[in-house]
Amino acid sequence: MRPFEYQRPTTTDSALAAIAPGAAFIAGGTNLIDLMKLEVMAPDTVIDISRLGMDGIEEDDGGVRIGATVTNSDLAADRRVRRDYPVLSRALLAGASGQLRNKATTGGNLLQKTRCPYFYDTDTPCNKREPGTGCAAIGGEQRNHAILGTSEHCVALHPSDMAVAMRALDAVVEIRGAGGETREIDLEKFYLLPEDRPQDETVLEPGELIAAARLPAPKGTRQVYRKVRDRASYAFALVSIGAVLEMEAGRISHAAVAFGGIGVKPWRDGAVDDLLTGEEPSEGLFEQAGEVLMRDARPSDGTEFKVGLTQRLLKAVLTEATQ
């Protein structure tokens, strides 16, 4: 670990003032500290944002506003969340372990790094870690890798469960800029595709801080989160699906289906939602949705199985949500 300076400001303004090139915010530290030990990330200054008062969950115009440092455990246990956004609660509880969830925060979860093993191995080339060096995963061992949205420069996956549920819930990210100004951006537009710059993962500008995630009032009461993994707990998703649906008169009136384990970012495909909306649920429809979702999939030999697995899981999730 490279020597670094540690600061713990108590106001957002002082946190924003402290941030400079080479500095990083730290929230729960469950991802950043691992990366610092391996020197995959090596900030010279670490600014602890846990005392900025960003740990509240508030009523917000029919929805909720979740402070960036609300822990995954607290968020999963929140009464409103469990009642109105059960897909989020379940997604959180399907992630990591109890100990990690007690530390991990909302903002940190959105910004957690990929689990591509080559990214964590500084002895291998990686365009995300060291732009221009190449991608060791391509031609190597892929499993926790994406099949949608990939480029010839990077096939890394966004590993979050929470963010998948938030995608299905149309979350909005509230950002504070270095000058103190606030801007909001749909989670949909928050993440970038890797293309030829896999090192740029989000629209966050240097020095910007995530202040909160906002969820609009729930648009569907039929909420399902399912995660397929290599062991019963404490493993990242091979494939996960968060679905928020509503039914009216036997037809699907709202469909928002998001996917984990397959996309370079928490994945949602408008064409899938559109296909489902207004239709009567049927096996054929769900199969068609799976076909549409995978129309541009680019799997490797290690991730080939995700195509069929996602399609099977999608059918099961949609069946459960429409029953």
């Binding site: 670990m1 031609g139 061992e141 397929v228 993994r229 091979l238 697995l309 099977r312």
Partner: protein
Amino acid sequence: MSLDLKIDGPDREHRPDHLAQNVLGHEIDRPDGWLKVKGEATYAAETFPEGLVHGILVRAPGIGRVSCANLEDVRNMPEVLAVVRDERLLRNAAQGGANEAPVQGVDTAEYVGQPVALVVAETFEAARHAAVALTVEIDGVEAPVDPEAVVPEEPDNQISTRGDLDGAMRHAPYSIDVVYTTASMNSAAMEPHAATAVWDGEVLTLRGALQMLKFNRNELADSLGLPPERVRILAPYVGGGFGSKLGISADCVAAAVAAMELNRPVRVVQHRRDVFEVNVRRSETRQRIRLACDTQGRLTGLGHEALVSNLPKEEFFEPVLQASYFAYAAANRDLRLKAARINRPATGSVRAPGEAVGVTVFEAAIDELAVKTGIDPIELRLRNIPEKDPDTGVPFSSHRLEATLKDGSERFGWNERDPAPRQRREGEWWIGTGMAAAFRVNMITPAEARITLDGDRATVESDMTDIGTGSYVIFQQIAAEILGLPTGKVDVRLGDTAYPPGSGSGGSFGAASTGTAVWLAGMEIRRALAERLGCDESEMTLRDGYVTHGNRRVPLADLVGGGAFSGHGRVEPGDAQEKVRQATYGAHFAEVGVNDVTGEVRVRRMLGSFSAGRILNPRTARSQCHGGMIWGIGMALTEEMTHDRRDGHVVNRDFAGYHVPVNADVPPLDVYFVEELDDWAGPLQVKGIGELSICGSGGAIFNAIHHACGARLRDFPATPDRVLAALS
């Protein structure tokens, strides 16, 4: 003086049953248990001698000649004390029982991940940072890393043929010819390998995470070029080993070399990533099983061919066929082991080397034959229990397979099972059950121990280790029984080469070997006490600190008087090894659910019935069996070291990527012991237990998967992608 015993024949006296203290066979608490719960049992990295500095191993990023261009720059970094590039550093851990230096050297890396330097600094953090800063350049060479891509060696002593297997296969009414694979696996002990070395100019003292100290001392001395008398190793507590700590590893030599160079105590803790690369792993295997039987299910042909791998210059090859020699008999057989030399991290002994993968696969193949013949899998096995060792023709010392099969089957409710696969469905889940037999060779190895009786307090000493298995408590029980003391009056001191050399922990032989040495040491004291009383040892009763002879009863402390009694015991294997075939047996049962949508497999319950000699402490014995059964879950469902196809390096070298079963993967486990007193197992009738329960347990799960969903998986582990492929 010493009481020595060579095990040449049976012992029908069963003395433990005629002693009075009655502490054997009971669930006595481990004296180290509370210390561990409270964090007071210190492990190898938890001693902090004055002036301690920290070393970090640096790995080779490729295969070929190694150079470090910025060595001097790194030496000049803040707090850095040394960058050690010494030819004595180890290429990889020593094999179990090596007793001499393993392959050494830092100029050439023979696998990716080989340690090529040690960076030492005042603080752990500075050392770690400097280790990253050191650039290791490799002048790369082509090296094979895929066991399937090289022409394997066929060691002569690993081939056994008899009759005409091909003919038997052609003519049999039923036969199967199948190929299974098992994955490269890691011991994944909780405590990472670590060493703290202190050099006083004369003697090197090393706190290590090691299993077999008498060998480790010679290995370390030989590696350093010191006479063994100038090396002392301490390992009073070890946080799991499972074979990976049988031999010294890179941390030990690196810490020692640095301590001698710097004249300061040096601690080297392997990073979890090193643990996956530097120490021996379990070889991946490809196993072809051929079985032929008559209409009654009696085997006429048996073929078991296995391909395993290891690094150049390593002598070990996973002995996959070890139980295939004696488990079942067939007039025509062909057993052969093939060994590929490749440049992946070294392979070596991992819990139940051989049977863990060999029996597991074989028992899955037997299930395939059972399905083909329509004979119940238990019945098929019962019909094929050999009368005598099919390999050598000698009798079995004891053979309790039938008893465990029947016991397990009854307790599990096997008879309620509909043999047809794919019958039970609960929602998305197919439910099924499966079973497998367990076989494991039983061994005893040379071991010594000493007991000192001072008043009515006894102290047991041996360099034997307790790697979490319960050595402390069982030696306490054995000493307490033979000396007639409450267990609280017995102190056990282990894990120090200053004590008599025990067996070490390995091959499940610790309890039988060192336990017998403790017994013999106690017996020597009994005899001395009897002499003082003027009677024969067997005429005297020792209990609760009192000695009774005839109508005379005196406190033991009075009889001992002012001077302490000392007893020394030594056991070694003898002719018994040739006269009989000795093994342990068991039966595994599993119920699984297979998700038809996702291909996920969850074990719903597991039961094991085992015969493993006299059970000294049911709690620690059961706990060993739980561990083995859970390892079976790991082997069957989750554990796999992934090697990069280009350079063989371990891709998933941490616990987020290498999936050992977690609590949620482990259902209720039931363990039962079938009584067995094997006369050939020495005066205590104790046999090995720690490994038996992993042998075959994964096979029971695989067989249950087939019964649940009708798909036959042949590649371990059955991850969701593989199950889905098999389902469709």
